[in-house]
Amino acid sequence: MNASDSDEDSYNERTALVPSENPAIPSYTPDSDLDPPVDTPSKRSGVSRRAGPVAVDGGGGGGSDQEADADDEELTLKYGAKHVIMLFIPVTLCMVVVVATIKSVGFYTEKTDQQLIYTPFTENTASVGRRLLNSVLNTIIMISVIVVMTIFLVVLYKYRCYKFIHGWLILSSLMLLFWFSFMYLGEVFKTYNLAVDYPTVGVIIWNFGAVGMICIHWKGPLQLQQAYLILISALMALVFIKYLPEWSAWVILGAISVYDLVAVLSPKGPLRMLVETAQERNEPIFPALIYSSAMMWTVGMASPADAQRSGQETDEEAEQSSRGAEPENRQPRSFTEDDLEEDRGVKLGLGDFIFYSVLVGKAAATGGDWNTTLACFVAILIGLCLTLLLLAIFKKALPALPISITFGLVFYFSTDFLVQPFMDNLADHQFYI
């Protein structure tokens, strides 16, 4: 099956870890009358409250200079620990879904000669050298496709072709939600040897897909939206696991972490430009690209920055509607202090979910046994922890792939080639350590 372009591009801009911004309040000075009062109580009072606005962004951070640095550090850590957990759960869930599918449904591990058009070179070659060359060539093609798509998307975004991007994203999520889940359901039924009829399947897929579109692109309960994003990441990861040839997959994983690093951190990197443009315009980044771990709410103030804070439905249209909704929601200064406790959460790009799951899924599919899978899983979580720590320190968008994928790859290869035989030998000789 040839996956369409619309899948490929959409994860390019997904591989970024973005702090939920408290945007565009320029450096805070406590004497300034311009400061929205919402910041004042939040900065003076409770420690936990400050964890939100202060620790996350540059603008608010400027103001905290006023306060003791010790407080600042403590807050940064508080922010880090809670948000780490908030991201662990979805990442774990996604990986669990992928590993469970790989282990039970044979379809996704069946050898197939069909490959994506992005990886035209086959790996069924005679010599090792040739195979290595082919996988490197596949990687180069794949990465170039991703780079081109990302640049294209950034250019579109810069020139405000929102309708085009919006249509592209809708098409892409339509395909994921309907076609891939249809395939997935079919395979699950075949694995468990169930007879299912077309009307029932039709109803199930129609419901799943339609509610998914509504939740992701319009308004829906937060948990449901998060669940759908996790599911589509898992589906996408499964497609990659099936259709990427062995060695190419590992080389691609390595290459894409390098690309992620470059794209997010270097000044002219496309992902960085995307995030910065979005922040300049005070718009949230598109829906269906970013997983947001908490509901952000506009603490109603006169700052135009409120537009960005309004929540995880980061759709262009939803954005208009949420911006439209804000004037009514705004109850200036009458918010009790409790309202200000709204957690801003951390956002993780869906591409990160996908590639983490690809790594763990491949480890489950081709690795020795559960040791390898678990090792990769732990490695990725450790990497995620470290990335979030860095995020709390640097307070700007960071690539989430490099650290985790590096750890994951290291752990996979070392476990598969070193630890596994070691453990097997020990067990063979009944030698317990």
């Binding site: 079919g186 929540g311 909704a325």
Partner: protein, 101 residues
């Protein structure tokens, strides 16, 4: 989307849209409506729009129940009689189990 922060008119409008959307063969949407707005409709202290939200939630629950009954009946019939229907059964089947029935 946090319901807490929406003004009541918007909650009503959202509930209504979910209710109407469910008529497009989307019992899942009705389920989401019921679960999501349950607290709003029955647990929260009264406010103006609550009566209408209550009606929508009740009707969504009713529609959901209807759909569940219909689907369960159909699935039971299909599973029981599929083999006996011969060609029609195969025609209707998305997946056909292998092996001896």
């Amino acid at each position: 989307m946090n319901l807490e922060r929406l003004p009541n008119e918007e909650k009503l409008s959202l509930c209504r849209k979910y209710y109407l959307g469910g008529f497009a063969f989307l019992p899942f949407l009705w389920l989401v409506n019921v679960v999501w707005f349950f607290k709003e409709a029955f647990v929260k202290p009264d406010y103006t729009e609550q009566m209408q939200i209550k009606t929508y939630v009740k009707r969504s629950a009713l529609g959901l129940l209807l759909w569940v009954t219909v689907l369960t009946t159909w699935i039971t019939i299909f599973q029981r009689f599929r083999a006996e229907w011969g060609e029609v059964g195969d025609y209707l089947s998305f997946t056909i189990p292998l092996g001896i029935p």
